[in-house]
C-alpha cells in the first residue's frame, strides 16, 4: 500500500485483495469496455433509425421500444447492482463491474472463481485467498468469459448463413446439456461448502431456504419483481445471519 513502483505490483502472500484488485490499469480497462458498449449502442440505434422508415415503422415506435427496454431493465439492473456490491470485497470494483455486471453473471462467474481458487488449494474469501489466488481467479474468469465472446464472434456468422442450427436439429440434447451442467456445477459447489464449518453448512440451507421462500412468494403474489430481487435479498439476509452466527 505504501509507495510501490508500478511494475512491482502486489505481494503473492498478502490477503489485501483490494490493493491489487483496484489497480488503476484494471479500472481503465473496465471503463474501456463500458465505453465500447456505449459506442455500440449508439451505432446500433443509428442503424435502426435508418432502416425503420422502410419497414413501415414510425420513429415514434423506435423511441417507444427504447423506453420500454430501458424501463423494463431498471429492476433487473438494480438487482444485479445489489449482488455486485456484495461481491466487491471479494473481487474489487473493476473485476466486479466487468465480470459480474457485464459479460458474465454473478452465478457463473462466482462458480468459476471458486473452481479456479480450488486449483490453488484455496477458497474464495478463505484464509488462503491471497492476492495471488485472486489474480489467478480473475485471469481465469476473464479467459472463460472471453471464450463466450469468441464463440459468439465465430458462430454468429456461421449460424446466419446456415440458418439451421444445432438447436433446431437436436433440441433435446441442446436443452439437456446446459440444464445438467449448471445444476451439477451449483450442486457440487454448494455441497462442498457443507463440511467447511457449521456456519457454512447453516448458511447454505439459510440461503437456499430464502430463495425458495422468495420464489414461492413471487409465484403466490404474482410478483415478477420479487423473482428478480430474490438472489440479492437472499445474499444480504444470509450475510446478516452469517455476521450473527460468526460473532455468537
Amino acid at each position: 500500500m505504501n509507495t510501490m513502483p508500478v511494475l512491482a505490483l502486489g505481494d503473492p502472500m498478502s490477503t489485501d485483495i483490494w490493493a491489487v484488485a483496484n489497480n488503476p490499469v484494471l479500472w481503465i480497462c473496465a471503463l474501456g469496455v463500458f465505453t465500447v458498449i456505449f459506442v455500440q449502442t449508439v451505432l446500433y440505434m443509428r442503424a435502426a433509425r435508418a432502416a425503420a422508415p422502410h419497414v413501415e415503422m414510425p420513429k415514434r415506435e423506435l423511441t417507444e421500444s427504447f423506453r420500454a427496454g430501458a424501463v423494463a431493465s431498471i429492476g433487473p439492473s438494480l438487482a444485479v447492482v445489489l449482488v455486485a456490491i456484495a461481491l466487491l470485497a471479494l473481487f474489487g470494483t473493476p473485476a466486479v463491474l466487468l465480470r459480474i455486471g457485464l459479460v458474465g453473471s454473478a452465478q457463473a462467474e462466482t462458480a468459476s472463481a471458486q473452481i479456479a481458487a480450488s486449483t490453488m488449494g484455496a477458497d474464495l474469501g478463505g484464509s488462503l485467498y491471497t492476492q495471488q489466488v485472486f489474480a489467478v481467479a480473475f485471469i481465469t474468469m476473464s479467459l472463460s468469459g472471453g471464450m463466450w465472446m469468441l464463440t459468439t464472434l465465430l458462430l454468429t456468422p456461421v449460424l446466419k448463413k446456415g440458418g439451421k442450427s444445432l438447436a433446431k436439429k437436436n433440441p433435446a440434447v441442446m436443452a439437456l446439456i446446459p440444464t445438467a451442467a449448471l445444476i451439477a456445477a451449483f450442486s457440487s459447489l454448494s455441497i462442498a461448502e457443507l463440511p467447511k464449518s457449521n456456519v457454512h453448512a447453516m448458511l447454505i440451507f439459510i440461503s437456499a431456504g430464502l430463495m425458495g421462500l422468495f420464489l414461492l412468494l413471487a409465484k403466490l403474489l404474482n410478483a415478477k419483481w420479487l423473482r428478480e430481487w430474490a438472489l440479492g435479498f437472499s445474499i444480504v439476509i444470509s450475510l446478516t445471519a452469517a455476521y450473527f452466527l460468526h460473532t455468537a
Binding site: V36, I37, F38, T41, L43, Y44, A48, A51, A52, H54, E56, E64, S65, F66, V71, P76, L78, V81, A84, I85, L87, A95, G101, V103, S105, T110, I115, T119, G125, Q132, V136, F138, I139, T140, M141, L143, G146, W148, M149, L153, L159, N170, A172, M174, P178, A180, A181, I183, A185, S187, S188, I191, L203, I206, S207, M211, G212, L231, S234, A242
Partner: protein
C-alpha cells in the same frame, strides 16, 4: 421465405439487409475490441505484477473451469441465436444477463408497439429495447457499483467486510442452486446432479483427495452423461437420435 413480409417487400428487404450488414460489422468490431480490453487487465496482472503467477497455474485453473462450463461456451450462443437474431447477439454476449434482463426487455418492447417476434418491426424493436436496457444497465453499474459501492465498502467496518468475504460463497451458492433448479424445472437432471455431487463429496473425496481440483468438473461431466441416459424418453421421442 419472403411470404411473411408485408407490402413493399423488396424495399423493406433491402433496407433490412443493409441493417443486418451494418450491425454485423459494428457488432463484430465493437465486440472484438471489448474482448481485447477485457483481456488486457488480466494480461497486465499476469505479465507485470509481482504475484509470481505461472502459466501452469493459469492453465490448470482454466482447464478445471473449462471442464465445468466449457460446453456452455458453445451451447449458449447456439441456443440464443434463434431468439436474438444476429444483430442482438453482439450486444447480448457483451452486456450479459441475457435471460434475466435482455430477453424480457425485448419482449416488453415488442408487445408495447404490438410487433411480433421474428418480424422486421419486431427485430428493430428488440434491438432498440436492448439499447435501452444497455443504457440503463451501464449507467446504474457505474453510479451504484463503481462510485457508490466502492465508497460504501471503504466505509463499512473491516470486521463486517471480513465476515462478508468469509461467508459470501455459501450465502450465494445455496440460493443460486435453488434458483437454477426452480427455473429449469427438470426433475431427473436435478436428482442426478445432487446425487452425484453428494457421492463426490462424501464417498469419493474422502478416499481420493487427488481429484479435489476437478471434483466439480467431474460431477458436471457425469451429470450430463447420466441425465442423458435416464432422460424421459417419452418427452424426447419426437427427435430421438439414430
Amino acid at each position: 421465405m419472403a411470404s411473411t413480409t408485408p407490402v413493399p417487400a423488396s424495399n423493406a428487404n433491402a433496407s433490412m439487409a443493409r441493417f443486418e450488414a451494418q450491425t454485423t460489422r459494428y457488432g463484430s468490431i465493437t465486440m472484438s475490441i471489448g474482448l481485447l480490453l477485457s483481456l488486457a487487465g488480466p494480461a497486465y496482472i499476469f505479465f507485470f505484477s509481482d504475484l509470481q503467477i505461472t502459466a501452469g497455474m493459469v492453465w490448470l485453473s482454466l482447464v478445471a473451469v473449462a471442464a465445468t462450463f466449457g460446453v456452455l461456451w458453445f451451447v449458449e450462443p447456439l441456443t440464443y441465436f434463434p431468439i436474438l437474431g444476429s444483430a442482438a447477439m453482439y450486444q447480448a454476449f457483451m452486456i450479459g444477463n441475457i435471460s434475466n434482463k435482455l430477453l424480457p426487455a425485448a419482449i416488453v418492447a415488442q408487445s408495447t408497439i404490438g410487433a411480433k417476434a421474428g418480424t422486421k418491426r419486431g427485430d428493430l424493436a428488440a434491438v432498440m429495447a436492448i439499447c435501452g436496457a444497455a443504457t440503463v444497465h451501464l449507467t446504474s453499474l457505474l453510479i451504484f457499483v463503481g462510485l457508490l459501492g466502492t465508497w460504501l465498502v471503504t466505509r463499512i467496518p473491516t470486521e463486517v467486510i471480513e465476515v462478508a468475504r468469509l461467508y459470501i460463497l455459501p450465502s450465494l451458492m445455496g440460493a443460486v442452486l435453488v434458483q437454477a433448479i426452480v427455473s429449469m424445472k427438470q426433475l431427473r437432471p436435478t436428482l442426478v446432479a445432487i446425487g452425484l455431487a453428494l457421492c463426490m463429496q462424501f464417498l469419493i473425496l474422502p478416499n481420493f483427495q487427488s481429484v479435489s481440483m476437478f471434483s466439480t468438473a467431474l460431477v458436471v461431466i457425469f451429470s450430463i452423461l447420466v441425465s442423458w441416459l435416464v432422460r424421459d424418453r417419452k418427452k424426447f421421442r419426437t427427435n430421438g437420435g439414430q
